[in-house]
């Protein structure tokens, strides 16, 4: 009986660990605190710490999902040279939602100051004053970072599950 219960448990844990596998890892996160109209925002400037920058995540709001304006996102160097450009529409923007802008990896992005600019004539869409940048790794790897961001909870949860397993392993429950 224990083996029968253990099998699916192992499959479940393996599946959870497999879901952590990712080719893209977080390079830089600038937490946002407010949504601002595009006209009031300034371009983001940051210096990636890894090569292969390939995804920028912006958080935007499209009230009532009504704005269908066009948007242009650019990544440029300190000298103004445009490295990447992504066009997208207000139709891609929820209220709010993460906008994932993926592009060909910038192989020499490490330690290179970059400027992120989003332009549009949209009258209503707002953008959060923060972003997340990801880089492409060479292969699949386990990203355990999500499990480490709330250590207090992980400890409490682990103790709860361990405690329940200890009770279960008590001989009085194996009859």
């Amino acid at each position: 009986m224990r083996l029968i219960l253990l099998g699916p448990f192992i499959v479940l844990v393996s599946s959870l660990l497999a879901s952590l596998a990712s080719r893209n890892r977080l390079d830089t996160e600038v937490p946002g605190s407010a949504y601002l109209p595009l006209a009031e925002t300034r371009p983001f400037t940051f210096t990636p710490t890894h090569s292969g920058l390939n995804i920028i995540l912006l958080r935007m709001k499209n009230p009532d999902l009504s704005d269908t304006s066009g948007f242009v996102f650019t990544i440029s160097t300190a000298t103004g040279q445009v490295l990447r450009q992504v066009n997208f529409s207000g139709r891609n923007i929820g209220d709010p939602s993460d906008i994932r802008l993926q592009f060909a990896p910038i192989s020499d992005s490490v330690n290179q100051p970059l400027t992120l600019t989003t332009t549009s004539s949209s009258p209503s869409v707002k953008i959060e004053n923060g972003f997340r940048a990801y880089y492409r790794t060479s292969g699949l790897s386990l990203n355990l970072a999500p499990l480490t961001r709330d250590p207090l909870f992980m400890v409490v949860w682990g103790l709860l599950v361990y405690g329940l397993i200890r009770i279960l392993a008590d001989p009085r429950f194996s009859r």
């Binding site: 219960l5 699916p8 448990f9 479940l12 959870l16 879901s19 952590l20 596998a21 990712s22 893209n24 995804i55 929820g94 209220d95 709010p96 939602s97 993460d98 994932r100 997340r132 990801y134 990203n143 999500p146 499990l147 961001r149 709330d150 909870f153 992980m154 949860w157 709860l160 599950v161 329940l164 397993i165 009770i167 279960l168 429950f173 194996s174 009859r175």
Partner: protein, 388 residues
């Protein structure tokens, strides 16, 4: 009482283990709206109509609002300062530091209700497999462990009503009315409880009234609110059951679900009047058939699941679960598939869902077939009582 400690504990380990890692936006939206009770909002329906918010409107009957609203301050305290902000974020807000804590806390009441339901089922039937099948079938794991749907709360009450229906039909009716104040579907059970509890017309009417009363007590303050009708009474199942229709011409349609429910009512009233031991069969059929004959939400299958499991037969169950999960996993909704695991890998939300309407329709057709078979067997082909 049969030894249910072991399956209960194994289930507790399993569900508390997985709770933090699976996410569906519904429970986040529900708690986001239930939180307004702490701000003094009594009529959530008129409030969201007057103050449109991204979370939308509250689509459940009032008792769901009040119960979750009372739980909200406790959960908010334990979750910490980021909880309210997270609730206000969009459906894909999984890449936040406290996501595991939030999911664990908002699912805990539901897991406890699940465990209570399993314990109650063990009091109904002497078969030792029943708690195991209840806790570890794919539908329960999916709807409660993964999605965190609140349907388990009225399900718990309907199973409790079944336990006490024979000795205390009026109390059972009261429980059904309370369950209906969470989600309306238990009202479908009331006529059958009334017909099968007694052969007296007067007593049947009183039992029915005893069930309707608590439901009306909770909805009465909101009957004058137009948004209450559009958000709850005319949404979800009530609309979808009328979509399976045969055109008769001249703008008239034959609605198949009301046809089947009428037949069920007459079978109960004419053939099985006063036979309370048949109540589980009617709870099964009345909650299963309207669901599978509609474009259902996955959690709706929870309603009939306890009663299906009470009459379980391995082949029927295997076909039922396979066809049900096949139908569900082919819904064109990322949050019903790999989106569930997004707390561990947020980028998975950007994968498109796998869509194949033909395959989904085939699975759904098999589901209807096995559901009809299970219902017919329960109603006509077995007089076996499952009470302990």
């Amino acid at each position: 009482m049969r030894n249910v400690k072991r399956p209960l504990l194994v289930a507790a380990v399993f569900y508390f283990f997985i709770a933090p890692f699976f996410f569906h936006p519904d429970i986040k939206i529900i708690y986001s709206l239930a939180g307004f009770l702490s701000q003094g909002v009594f009529n959530i329906y008129s409030y969201t109509a007057a103050h449109p918010i991204p979370a939308g409107s509250f689509v459940y009957p009032p008792l769901a609002y009040f119960v979750l609203g009372l739980l909200y301050p406790v959960i908010n305290f334990l979750a910490g300062p980021g909880f309210a902000s997270w609730l206000a974020m969009g459906n894909d807000a999984v890449d936040v530091a406290g996501i595991f804590r939030y999911l664990f806390l908002i699912k805990t009441p539901l897991i406890l209700a699940l465990l209570a339901t399993g314990w109650t089922l063990s009091k109904i039937s002497s078969r030792k497999e029943i708690p195991w099948i209840w806790f570890f079938n794919p539908l329960t794991i999916y709807a409660v462990g993964f999605m965190g749907q609140i349907d388990i709360l009225p399900v718990m009450l309907t199973v409790l009503a079944l336990v006490i229906a024979k000795p205390k039909p009026f109390l059972a009716a009261l429980l059904l009315g309370l369950a209906a104040a969470f989600k309306t579907y238990p009202l479908l059970f009331l006529p059958f409880l009334a017909l099968l509890s007694t052969t007296s017309l007067k007593r049947s009417a009183l039992i029915f009234a005893a069930g309707i009363a608590p439901y009306l007590l909770f909805v009465a303050p909101f009957l004058a609110t137009p948004a209450f009708y559009s958000d709850t009474l005319t949404s979800g199942l009530t609309q979808r059951v009328l979509q399976l229709a045969l055109p008769l011409g001249y703008a008239e349609n034959l609605y198949l679900v009301p046809v089947i429910m009428t037949m069920l009512f007459l079978v109960a009233g004419v053939l099985h009047r006063g036979q309370i031991h048949r109540l589980p069969s009617y709870f099964l059929a009345a909650s299963l058939l309207p669901v599978v004959l509609s474009h259902f939400h996955p959690q709706w299958l929870l309603w009939s699941l306890p009663f299906i499991i009470l009459r379980f037969e391995w082949l029927s169950l295997a076909v039922f679960f396979t066809s049900a999960m096949g139908t569900i996993l082919l819904f064109p909704d990322k949050f019903l598939t790999w989106g569930l695991i997004s707390p561990l890998n947020p980028q998975i939300l950007f994968l498109p869902p796998f869509v194949n309407p033909l395959l989904q329709s085939l699975f759904h057709s098999v589901l209807v077939g096995v559901s009809l078979w299970i219902s017919l067997c329960a109603l006509f082909f077995s007089d076996r009582s499952s009470s302990s």
